[in-house]
Assembly symmetry: C2
Homo-oligomer: 346 residues x 2
DNA sequence: AAGCCGAATGTAACCGGTTACATTGCCGGC
DNA sequence: GCCGGCAATGTAACCGGTTACATTCGGCTT
């Protein structure tokens, strides 16, 4: 009762064309090594039978997959879209295809993904963040799969990273708010326990406060998943503090927008009553009212550099060199010097 | 001078364990068909040598890939993120992995992608929009790869689609604006020539105007790529019209936000001076000020249904049934009845 | 005319699991 | 004591291209 349908393959095609399998394969891969007449006869048959060679067999046999894996924590945030597009266009120019996978901020999912990528023998992996089980890095090394960490600087020499410096970038933003005279500075950031980028930005915030002898006030910090609604609620809570902050540093632009909208609802003026600085510099925050100050993140360059590095590593056997790409704090209309309104602390 | 490194595989492992390759394979795939003692000996070796079986060989040999391809026009718009996540979680429960690819609104890229998906012998393909070369559908059919169109209802019976109705949804929004008394209604939408969803929404807008005997004014329509800045500029242009529209229908929420921000800049009040309706119902428009009215798109259900349909089609050989999923026009604070101010506004 | 070269093509091994089928060995029933 | 039957394991074909190496043959050199 089985289907008798033989799928067309190089052997059946070779028979029809009256040539050998090697000739068919060559006609498709290296057309100029086949006599024009033979080649055309074969290509006509390929067309006629709509032959699409089995890529698995092809790269299984040739021992090359032409695949690079990219693991991002989410695809909801469009900052990763820009990053992904940069990687994709670089890879496309060089050959390999990109396998985009979404780990959803889960270490377990990421573990499974990495395993699957190794199973499919990808020729490179781009990781987001450095914090993960050491055995995963060992596995990649064991299979000689070049990999590179992005969006975070790896603290270990053996783990190459191509990234901007989260700590420095967040510190710069916090410093700027202090320079503007702010002392009560709220922080809305991601959940540090599951997100090393959030954790580094939080650390930077704390260390800058400490440097300026401003006591850390836990009630001014809110760790939230990256959903605008959650951020808006967090901002509402922070601004309802008996001694509300005069500035908010949001370690993510989605959260900054949530904070902005929440302030507008509460009739708290930005930047007159509260200054806001975001992080990522998404196109949307440039267009918002007021346009939000934000830390510009070099997503595109980072993607380009990571892709180039992997391509080079796959070609030669050279190890990947770590790079640090600068960020830029872009000041727009959402930040202003602190006004010393009477009756309040200074 | 070649590397002497033999990668570990079932054969080398079998030798070390003193068993046959079949036993190794079974120890990994069907552990209970192997005697506990043997199984543990093998698993210990797998652990020791960090053996990760070659998935290409595995699914090449077993003739199953466990792969489903998803082609989206962009990953920048977070509405696709929700859709993608729904698909991913359904597939994960059933087994297959999801290959996400970004066609970037380009027919050529999409053509290459479909070819590559066929080459890798995916077991299903989820497409966005129905408008594409017929030969691509034929190729998929020829290779017996189940596929389904989403985000647009396919006009052909032979092409199954699981989608909401773009025409009906856009018509409902336009009707609502008319019902609120608006007669001069601007439209900002995607580029109809490259985007069948945009084109259907534009058509719906036109047909509703016609139904209400409102003459179509070309200067009130702007087709734009989905970037907030472009939409903001378009809105600025539309609102600078000597006879500006009293309502804007934006066939995409990103564009609606751009329009909202542009109006705020121009000190045009929303909804007092101009009503805005968006499309997609992104979380961000619910939080914006004013919260935007928008056509809620069933991205999650559509993703679930599409994934389920492909899984079913792959299991049995049943063809996929088309489905239409309802949308819902959600009215929020950005829309108001037309005020009959004579001559002036503001 | 013998010998050589290179272009065109053919042959078959190979990539690394999977799996149908074969084999082995042990137990219990009769 | 023989044999059926089952559990555990082994053997080897197979998936479908790729490619190293072999072969064929026409033409050119000397």
């Amino acid at each position: 009762m089985k289907k008798p349908e033989k799928s067309v393959n190089v052997r059946s095609l070779a028979k029809k064309a009256g040539v050998s399998v090697a000739t068919v394969s060559r006609a498709l891969r290296q057309p100029d090594t086949v006599a024009p007449h033979t080649r055309e006869k074969i290509l006509r048959l390929v067309e006629k039978y709509r032959f699409v060679p089995d890529g698995r067999a092809a790269n299984f046999s040739s021992q090359r997959t032409g695949l690079v894996g990219l693991i991002v924590p989410t695809i909801s945030n469009s900052i990763y879209a820009e990053f992904t597009e940069a990687i994709q266009s670089r890879l496309q120019a060089a050959g390999p295809s990109l396998l985009i996978v979404n780990a959803n901020y889960s270490a377990e999912i990421e573990r499974d993904i990495i395993r699957k990528l190794i199973e499919s023998r990808v020729e490179g992996v781009i990781l987001t963040g450095y914090r993960r089980d050491a055995s995963l890095y060992q596995l990649l090394e064991h299979y000689r799969i070049p990999f590179v960490v992005t969006w975070a600087i790896s603290p270990k020499r053996s783990i190459p990273s191509i990234s901007f410096d989260n700590h420095a970038a967040a510190a710069e933003a916090t410093e700027m708010l202090i320079k503007l005279g702010h002392r009560r500075i709220g922080l809305i950031c991601g959940v540090a326990a599951i997100n090393d980028r959030a954790s580094m930005r939080l650390e930077a915030y704390q260390s800058v406060l400490e440097k300026h002898r401003i006591t850390f006030d836990e009630t001014l910090v809110s760790q939230q998943p990256f959903e605008i609604e959650a951020a808006a609620e967090a901002a509402t809570r922070l601004m309802s503090n008996p001694k509300p902050p005069t500035a908010l540093f949001c370690a993510n632009d989605i959260q900054a927008l949530g904070a902005l909208f929440a302030c507008q609802r509460m009739k708290i003026r930005v930047p007159e009553d509260v200054s806001i600085i975001g992080f990522d510099d998404l196109p949307i925050v440039r267009t918002a009212n007021p346009a939000l100050s934000s830390v510009h993140v070099p997503a595109r360059q980072m993607g380009n550099a990571a892709a180039d590095a992997l391509i080079a590593a796959a070609r030669q056997q050279t190890p990947i060199k770590s790079q640090i790409i600068p960020t830029e704090l872009i000041m727009r209309a959402s930040t202003a010097p602190l006004k010393h309104s009477k009756g309040t602390r200074r």
